[in-house]
């Protein structure tokens, strides 16, 4: 468990690891000693909780280091997600760009692999042209539906906004 914990700690920004890393490991040792006396199921829950806590914490610390995480995002609640003043964090554009770059890179790598195999046939992807129109249709229907709701001032944004207005 400690080995896994140390590995997951590496996902945190260096500054956080420097400030809290050893302290977190010390606390985990103490908590682990408590958990050792419990049932196997309770120990499994403990390991799962610690692992997910670290993963979520690392993600939020990175968001925070980008200047995007709201102050109390560390412990997300429905209260936060329902705050009407919530807007997309500034880092959204950065993250989307990174994801786009990843997708493009994957496509390029895929093309390079196909080229290295010396064939342009890709039988595994024959279904793509068939589902593309369906995908476009569903997407367009979704956009149209949202546009109608927006025009009728019935979209989620409007409903949340009207709920926040004083009566």
């Amino acid at each position: 468990m400690l080995t896994l914990y140390r590995c997951l700690l590496r996902l945190y920004p260096a500054e956080h690891r420097t400030q809290f890393g050893e302290e977190m490991i010390q606390v985990l040792r103490d908590v682990q000693a408590d958990a050792a006396t419990r049932t196997r199921f309770a120990r499994a829950i403990f390991c799962l909780r610690e692992a997910t806590g670290l993963l979520a914490g690392a993600f939020q610390e990175h968001l925070r280091s980008l200047g995007a995480a709201p102050a109390w995002l560390s412990i997300p609640t429905r209260r936060f997600t329902m705050r009407t003043e919530f807007r997309f964090p500034k880092a959204t554009a950065v993250l989307m760009t990174i994801i786009l770059a990843g997708v493009i890179l994957a496509i390029k790598r895929g093309e390079a692999i196909v080229a290295s195999l010396g064939t342009t046939d890709s039988p595994h992807f024959d279904f793509l042209p068939a589902i593309a129109p369906l995908f476009v249709f569903v997407y367009a229907a979704g956009v149209l539906g949202w546009a109608i709701l927006f025009a009728l001032r019935r979209s989620g944004v409007h409903r949340l906004g009207s709920a926040a207005e004083p009566k």
Binding site: E23, V27, V31, L54, A71, S74, I75
Partner: protein
């Protein structure tokens, strides 16, 4: 201090507290504590309902430190290299304001519940 007596700036300063953050602050309200002690106290205060992971705890502590709600506290016996934390004046003021807010809500809920029954 009553919530209604606070200045608007002071009220604005206090964001709504999540239950784990509120419990962490309550844990530090009595005495300075280190991480493990906070975890156990939070679990005890909530009758085992809120069990924080270390990742969650230190995420919250980090933000509370950054916002000057808590501060490091140097223990006399720090042989195990544990770091203790305590509430700052600002943290205590905001905790009191949150307690007043919750008290008002509870009073309102009681009033309405009595009316409904």
């Amino acid at each position: 201090m009553a919530y209604s007596d606070m200045s608007p700036e002071a009220i604005l300063e206090m964001l709504p507290l999540t239950e784990p953050v509120l419990l962490i602050l309550l844990s530090l309200a009595g005495q300075p504590r280190h991480g493990y002690s906070i975890l156990k106290d939070v679990e005890q205060m909530s009758d085992g309902r809120v069990v924080l992971s270390t990742g969650t705890l230190y995420g919250a502590l980090r933000r509370l430190l950054d916002d000057d709600w808590i501060e490091h506290f140097k223990e006399q016996d720090s042989s195990r290299g544990r770091q203790a934390y305590r509430l700052t004046a600002r943290g205590r003021r905001n905790l009191q304001a949150e307690a007043s807010r919750l008290k008002q809500l509870a009073r309102l809920a009681n009033l309405r519940a009595v009316k409904e029954t």
